[in-house]
Symmetry: C2
Subunit: 615 residues, 2 copies
């Protein structure tokens, strides 16, 4: 079923003759719309039904797939079980093979006729109604296939998840329904079938948490498709906002040697963990031992004596190095034994005394926790910059708000102070709320129907509200009246209950914020803020950063951080320092807010969390 | 020098009262422009000069910084050496301290006068001309400071890299020059000084390769600033192109367990390499040995006997496990010795037999080499998707075209074939060329003046040219006539010399392309393509991917890949398979093309290459 190039409507999307479902459905609202137009449409079956035709059809002019075997007795009308049809159809090739083997095309008509009578009769023609979707729209397009003129089996075409590319004419639907247009298929260009027993979406309405096990399949569900479109909308809104406001997008590094927070567990990036190849793993114990068992014992004895010697003298570096070298050999032997035992479970590596000088970058390096420090160096040259990318926390706790890899928007502005950045964060956040309402209305209607009916209203009042800005101590006072729990666990109360809209809390105690946040004149608080929003909690964290060299230097010492690591960062204060501030927005949390969902694992395409990464 | 809120022009950029240099320079072209307007302007000094006033000024009404010490003898007019002025100025606080200590404010005028006569006279007033830049524009704004009315020292304000935030009035320049407007400073709000002896940009025109050692400082150079703006422009152009064409941005994962190419060296992501803390490292040898030296020897002996036993019997898993456990202890001891020896060089870690079941994700995981496979799963649900992010190759060779971390744009389209994706890649590429010419004209003028005078012309003809599309075998024929070198090293000849414009080569031999590329009917070539452009070489690689389950499965076997790893990927063919294709654009190479530079290390903000990562 190769794609040909039929005479089709020129698509507003280029590169394909295929017309997106969205274009057809939107066009059908207009007069005269697309009715009567010939198009190519592709998509995946979401819902389908088969309606049996009441009377057998006359044989089609163009022979269908199994044209030798025409239906004789008319079947009773009605919807038929898919699997029955499938069984019949699946046997036809087998029987036609028998014909070829026994008779072939040159055999006598009598023999041929006799053989043909042995073939089970194919099902009577049906009308297949497929609701298909290509991801361009929440709504599906109805595609109508008459199996009398367009030969295809129910088993091939009906299952949820089947991919079809079809050529046909857009028509007004015969029956009155929600749809104002449907496609009458003239030719099937491609069918991608489904192995129903293995397809996770064959079962009806899998809950979201079960769908997480199928990250590669779940975008085919209506909900995850909507989430993906909203996520992409928020992404473009982010670039639009910052570019319109004179910010430059800077690609801060993922691999870093700088710890930008000091609070988080970090992932290490290395090339030192070598996988034992199958070849190495298959070395027999006798081979390995034949060479090195005695050597190992000798080496260990030598090492022991060297260590003894070291007890007496600390300075024998060379001897120590030799001992360590020997120990490496010991390890290598053990590894070979281990590898052999584990056979082809290639999880074993050559252990070694890890020396980071030998690692790829010549030093320990990590996956970045935050891009703000790197971003600062560009802000302190180019004024306003932003970054948008994945950030990493090797946090083993499972949570609805955090996984190991999450996308973050970071902005940094030179010549700005705390109040400037709080205003910028508020404006950006409101811009996102407004953008989604204006640009993703179909998806917002869907999520408010399916997920959370208050979500549209919430985005509207977040866009139009005044956001209170209160110092941390005032926030603590408010919370003290209503709860005895810790501030961090209760902060969402401010937005959820007290103000019932987003609120900005600023001037945090210096101990709870990173070393680089600017120390206030009281010497106790720092110029940090958090924007707390209903349902989600903290979605933005930000700060004016310390521009004074001496104070920053002291803070680095207070946090017991390695000064070497921050020399480059101190340089920004050493040379042409400037007041500056910035913030980070948890992009995945923003998607939660916009979709009404409550777990980030449902809005992140490929979840990376402790013990979980399956692709 | 705290920032106050003067009565300023409303900035078209929000959040700050500061007006960007770009706004002023662009506004000055218009009539009446900004002349006479009071503004706040900030930036870093690029060039400066000091002009001595001919006649000493009368004492200012508001006392300058060192008002006790007025200048007495008029200095000869002319430009004065900065360091001389600096020396004088730097001594004033010392002498005024003496006054306070000896006399204080309550001492008799006679004593005070006597002491004051000991103080060296401050320099006569000067006019400082500063060319400042805030990153918003290629051009600098001239800022004029009269030290008679606005007290500041030359040493503070003149050095390159000094940060200033000033309040003043925009005026027509007194002297005729390139500039049509300049700022007469009324008040200095902030000065961020420079430690000249440590500042890398104090020396004139550092070459680009030397600047690479200062990634945090180099955006302050005119060239890197322009590169950053062009890069940010190409970034936004990318999002604009794809969003306008119905593509959804999908955040494919950075951490992955799937090898999407099979050709590249990969970085591993782990939490198993534990850094030895300072506390652990300081454990004395005697302490460590006292406990475990004998244990180690015993363990090793035990291990040896177990290994001997294993020679006879392969199945003794338990004993092996015990032996390995003992070896771990041996390693730990050695590590402690090693740690002690290395003292506070905290590069040592606890070695261990690495068991990836114990790693964060419970299996080996890597930094992604390409997002295309993950992207496919979204294309096979939502039609058209793209991704834009960093990709990683642990390649130790140093090259002008490759470093370890590079940004890549990837696009994937369902219902498309090779010719569709070649067209899409060409259109996207042309869109980028046109966008930069239309939206970054000031920067393009600069880079064509400073870096490569042909760059604007090149982008123009790349936008307007017809791109030949030739099969690989034809490309080989062309090259065979002119060279005997390998295809891969000569492919750029096609664009540079033969066609003198971009050319698309397709249908590559299957061995040189990844397993997932669609096998052509000849069984020898695959539906891959590369777009080769003058000066850069291959900037886009793409392919129609294999949609047929059986063939893909065979290809996975042919490449000797672990089928388990690709089960999820095979699912996309198992259920509703579709013809689809996609491409990757090397974004950093695109920035090279747009800037006329020749080494990616000059266009990537923070370079990550073998042995190099310093922040």
């Amino acid at each position: 079923m190769e794609s040909q190039e039929p005479n089709v409507t020129k698509s507003p999307l280029m590169y394909l003759n295929r017309v997106p479902v969205k274009t057809i459905l939107e066009g059908s609202d207009a007069e005269p719309g697309f009715v009567g137009t010939t198009v190519v449409v592709g998509g995946w079956v979401k819902v389908s039904k088969e309606v049996k035709e009441v009377m057998p059809q006359p044989p089609p002019t163009s022979p269908p797939m199994a044209s030798d075997a025409r239906p004789s007795p008319p079947h009773p009308p009605g919807t038929k079980d898919v699997s029955c049809v499938e069984v019949l159809q699946s046997r036809i090739p087998f029987f036609t093979t028998i014909i070829r083997v026994l008779g072939g095309s040159t055999s006598s008509p009598a023999v041929r006729q006799k053989l043909e009578s042995l073939i089970p009769k194919p099902p009577p023609p049906s009308i297949f109604f497929l609701q298909i979707n290509d991801g361009s729209s929440v709504s599906n397009l109805t595609v109508v296939i008459d199996s009398a003129t367009v030969p295809v089996s129910a088993g091939q075409i009906l299952p949820t998840g089947t991919c079809v590319l079809v050529h046909g004419v857009l028509e007004k639907p015969s029956a009155h329904g929600k749809q104002t247009i449907e496609l009458k298929v003239e030719k099937i260009l491609h069918v991608g079938t489904v192995e129903q027993d293995k397809y996770p979406l064959s079962r009806k309405r899998l809950p979201l948490d079960s769908l997480r096990d199928y990250p590669h399949i779940r975008p085919r569900t209506t909900t995850v498709a909507s989430v993906t479109r909203i996520r992409s909308g928020l992404d473009f809104a982010t670039h639009t906002f910052f570019q319109n406001h004179g910010f430059l997008h800077v690609h801060v590094p993922i691999i870093t040697t700088t710890d930008s927070e000091g609070f988080s567990e970090k992932f290490q990036v290395t090339t030192l963990l070598r996988e034992t190849s199958k070849k190495e793993a298959s070395i027999g114990v006798s081979d390995a031992d034949g060479v090195s068992l005695e050597t190992v014992e000798a080496a260990v004895k030598k090492k022991s004596s060297i260590v003894e010697e070291l007890k007496r003298s600390d300075s024998n570096r060379e001897a120590l190095a030799a001992a360590l070298q020997d120990l490496r050999k010991t390890n290598e032997l053990a590894q070979q034994v281990d590898s052999r035992e584990k056979s082809k479970a290639v999880t074993a590596v050559k252990p070694d005394l890890v020396n980071f000088n030998e690692d790829f970058f010549g030093r320990q390096s990590y996956l970045t926790v935050s891009g703000r420090l790197h971003l600062e160096s560009y802000a302190c040259a180019l004024g306003r910059v932003y970054s948008f990318g994945p950030r990493f926390h090797a946090d083993k706790t499972v949570s609805a708000k955090h996984v190991a890899e999450m996308w973050t928007v970071e902005a940094e502005m030179a010549f700005s102070q705390l109040e400037d950045v709080m205003k910028c964060a508020e404006d950006y956040f409101k811009f996102l709320c407004r953008w989604i309402l204006d640009n993703c209305s179909e998806d917002m209607t869907f999520v408010s129907k399916r997920i959370d009916k208050t979500v549209v209203h919430r985005l509207e009042y977040m866009d139009s509200s005044f956001y209170d800005k209160i110092p941390y101590r005032e926030a603590v006072e408010i919370l003290r009246k209503v709860t005895d729990k810790a501030f961090e666990t209760q902060i969402h109360y401010l937005a959820d209950e007290h103000y019932r809209r987003p609120v900005i809390v600023y001037d945090y105690p210096k101990a709870v914020k990173p070393f680089y946040v600017r120390l206030n004149d009281d010497g106790k608080t720092v110029a940090a803020f958090e924007m707390v929003v209903p349902k989600i909690g903290t979605v933005v964290t930000g700060s004016q950063n310390e521009e004074r060299f001496d104070i920053l230097n002291t803070r680095i010492k207070e946090f017991d951080l390695s000064k070497d690591q921050y020399e480059w960062y101190l340089d920004l204060r050493r040379h042409g320092t400037v007041k500056h501030s910035g913030f980070s927005l948890g992009f995945d949390l923003m998607v939660l807010l916009a979709t009404g969902l409550t777990d980030v694992r449902d809005v992140i395409p490929f979840i990376r969390s402790h013990g979980k990464t399956n692709n």
